[in-house]
């Protein structure tokens, strides 16, 4: 074959790639061809090879991750095996998933300047690039802000600015919107659209959100088992349920059933016992920042409540009061009718289970079994009861066969199930689940939702903190919308939709 000659184009022909110590090939027979100025979405299940194929394009593979590599990659007409990653970085900008580990500067300006100063540009040129990049991502005026104090969305935009400051011809982003709230997602996409228009940058973006991909990309590549399984226009993909099901992508055809589901929803599990009550709850952080104002909520036994709202609106702050991780500045919290003022979080853990978003923040044991046992050690149980609870929890989440496995050898979806099982084994009546579907592919999203449905059916009261409107609308009995530390709406899903539509019409 002849090397591509068009600047900003991507060409890859990979026979196979296997990570060092890898059990099998992560990529095989992968062919990729992207023209200058295209906006391409990369989709596929977790583990299908998306991140791996993105890391090929600036030479991280084979330079940083050596492994077994057979094939050729040309990005911006440069053969990646002949250039160092640092040299490729000038032309191919790669934004990885976790913004936290991509920010180097103590201040915003220093961070954006990091790339161009590595390239040895003059001071004047760097300051100019910092200014235009910050403007492009909507962070103008942030120059002297401390990076540690930025919000999640601002950090995400900063990482993009840091790469833009090197003026790449190709911009590659690995799931840049997965952690953001809907407003934050729109901002990122608008920024990308604008970039392509003004600078003819080629954009390759990976993600799981079908709606976003349909709205913003020109073309979708679907990865399956390390090779491109489907390539075409987004409108030909998302309405073809045979293909979407095959590759674990959310179909947009199915949206029609939604209305039926809402009507179908019965509230038979709910009784009139109030299990959670907050009275005039207000909370201020130590630095004086007010996070909650006068929250009054009553939640009945067996309700499935979705807590929604922007990042920083107070959903998580409210939820952390329910098991005493945070204590009210003013007001009271009652769990099962009892003021929890004098109860420790450990005591409350028997009544209120809290599943955090990142399972890796809790997994520490050498086997799946021991991991679940840990929470039970703090409750005085007989050996038989303890054993039964462990097995029941494992069975419920479907991890029985992994009982003696090391937790870190499990996939991310399985680790999250394990996190749920550790809480479940403690048999709390109330379950708070923090962003259960964030960053998950469609298969795992469905599995998590199904699991929550089953928990609800089992009689648990469920509070799901989520940005996933589908989850909220279709499965919750009730939606509580937080905004700026207050409750904006509190109603059943169908009324909420009417309400919001009413507000939109009124505006």
């Amino acid at each position: 074959m002849t090397a591509p000659t068009e600047r900003g184009s991507i060409f890859a022909d990979i026979l196979r790639y296997r990570y060092e110590n890898g059990m099998s090939d992560t990529l095989n027979k992968l062919k990729l061809n992207v023209a200058r100025g295209e906006f391409v979405g990369l989709m596929g299940r977790t583990g299908s090879g998306k991140t791996t194929s993105l890391m090929l394009l600036n030479g991280l593979i084979p330079h940083f991750f050596e492994g077994e590599f057979e094939g050729e990659v040309y990005a911006n007409t440069m053969n990646t095996s002949r250039y160092r990653v640092q040299t490729m970085a000038r032309f191919v900008g790669l934004v990885m998933q976790d913004p936290e580990t991509q920010i180097f500067g103590i201040t915003v300006e220093k961070d954006v300047a990091f790339g161009p100063s590595n390239l040895g540009y003059s001071k004047e040129k760097i300051l100019g690039l910092v200014k235009t990049s910050l403007k492009a991502v909507g962070l103008q005026g942030y120059e002297n802000r401390l990076t540690a104090e930025l919000s999640g969305g601002e950090k995400q935009r900063l990482t993009i600015a840091g790469v833009l400051a090197m003026e790449p011809e190709i911009l590659i982003l690995d799931e840049p919107t997965s952690e953001l709230d809907p407003a934050g997602k729109v901002e990122i996409y608008q920024l990308l659209i604008e970039l392509r228009k003004s600078q003819q940058v080629t954009i390759l973006i990976s993600g799981h959100d079908s709606e976003e991909m349909l709205h913003y990309t020109d073309r979708i590549l679907v990865l399956d088992n390390g090779s491109i399984a489907w390539d075409g226009k987004p409108e030909n993909l998302f309405y073809n349920t045979t293909i979407t099901e095959k590759y674990g992508i959310r179909s947009l055809e199915a949206d029609g059933i939604k209305q039926k589901n809402i009507i179908k929803k019965d509230r038979k599990n709910t009784d009139t016992n109030i299990v959670i009550e907050s009275r005039n709850l207000s909370f201020k952080y130590q630095n004086g920042y007010p996070a909650l104002h006068n929250i009054n909520v009553k939640i009945n036994n067996g309700e499935f409540v979705a807590l929604i709202g922007k990042n920083g609106a107070g959903k998580t702050t409210f939820s952390k009061h329910l098991n005493g991780l945070l204590r009210p500045s003013e007001g009271q919290i009652l769990i099962n009718g009892r003021d929890i003022k004098d109860m420790t979080t450990a005591e409350l853990s028997k009544d209120v289970g809290y599943v955090f978003q990142n399972p890796d923040h809790q997994i520490f044991a050498a086997t799946v079994r021991e991991e679940i046992e840990y929470g039970l050690k703090n409750q005085s149980l007989s050996d038989d009861v303890r054993e039964k609870r462990i097995l029941d929890a494992l069975e419920f989440v479907g991890l029985e066969k992994f009982k003696e496995r090391h937790p870190f050898t499990l996939g991310k979806g399985e680790r999250q199930k394990l996190a749920v099982a550790t809480i479940l084994a403690m048999e709390p009546g109330i379950l708070v689940i923090d962003e259960p579907t964030t960053g998950q592919d469609w298969d795992n999203t469905q599995k998590m939702i199904l699991m929550m449905e089953n928990l609800h059916r089992k009689g648990h009261t469920i509070l799901a903190i989520t940005h996933n409107m589908r989850l909220a609308e279709e499965y919750a009995d009730r939606i509580i919308v937080f905004s700026e530390g207050k409750i904006l709406h509190d109603s059943v899903p169908i009324e909420l939709i009417k309400n919001i539509q009413g507000e939109i019409n009124a505006n």
Binding site: M55, R84, A89, R90, S117, L325, I363
Partner: protein, 269 residues
């Protein structure tokens, strides 16, 4: 000494880091050449005044000094007993206040007590004067200074990144502790063995997460072209202004004056 940059914009903040270092040297030098606790007390008061005039959060400074107090008391006692009283110039300082054992053994001399006091005050001077620097100087200025002293820029990068990640790691540790507390663990409670053991569920996720982060950081550094060129561009350079030159000149005069005074046997014990 341990307090981070506190941007209050005082006149000391505006000085060049080199001027501040010379100031620190001057204070330490004076405190070391004079043995009199009175002079050292004046230096402590002066450093305290500097911190106060920079609107430093003084409660934080007190927090740093507090755990050192027992050490100071031990120093006073030990020097009081062990410093041979014959070493003192004036009769008054050779006076024995009391003896612990009969026969003049373990005698506690007035001079020893005063000398101990001087030692303690010297430590105070160094802590307070270095705090003046750290409170008033952004880390970038200090790195620039080290770079001017021919430190390789990779090392400067490591230090700056380390500092950048302090709040991140603090937040991680909080999140992990919350996750484990929600599972009913009581971190840091119980007897010594139990409380140490209770930290294992926090430490392991912390270590695993740090390893993952360090890999990601290495990738992100390459993505940003780290090491593409032999040198990197500095956005800001530290600069001496006329006021810095004037203050440095004054400081040098003070050092000369102090050395002369010492040669006249002022401030001895």
């Amino acid at each position: 000494m341990l307090i981070e940059y506190y941007p209050s914009g005082s006149y000391i903040h505006k000085l060049d880091v080199r001027t501040k270092c010379l100031g620190f040297l001057t204070l330490t030098l004076i405190s070391f050449i004079f043995y009199s606790p009175v002079i050292n007390l004046l230096l402590v008061l002066f450093s305290w005044f500097l911190l106060f005039s920079m609107s430093t959060p003084l409660s934080r400074v007190k927090q740093i000094l507090k755990p050192l107090m027992p050490i100071f008391v031990i120093m006073l006692v030990i020097t009081g007993f062990t410093y041979p009283s014959v070493n003192f110039h004036s009769e008054q300082h050779r006076k024995i206040l009391f003896t612990l054992l009969p026969g003049g053994l373990l005698a506690f001399s007035l001079g020893g007590l005063l000398y101990g006091l001087t030692l303690v005050l010297r430590i105070f001077v160094m802590i307070l004067a270095s705090t003046v620097i750290t409170v008033s100087t952004p880390i970038e200025d200090i790195l620039q200074l080290l770079k001017k002293l021919k430190m390789p820029h990779q090392l400067a990068f490591v230090i700056a990144t380390g500092i950048r990640f302090i709040p991140t790691m603090q937040k991680k540790s909080e999140m992990i502790q919350e996750a484990q507390r929600a599972r009913g663990s009581e971190i840091g409670k119980g007897g010594i063995v139990k409380s140490i053991k209770s930290y294992i569920p926090v430490l392991i996720p912390m270590i695993v997460d740090s390893l993952r982060m360090s890999d990601n950081l290495a990738i992100a550094m390459l993505n940003r072209g780290f090491g593409a060129m032999k040198t990197t561009t500095d956005l800001y350079e530290i600069r001496m202004f006329p006021r810095d030159h004037i203050i440095c000149a004054v400081l040098v005069l003070i050092i000369i004056a102090a050395l002369w005074a010492r040669s006249q046997n002022i401030g001895a014990l």
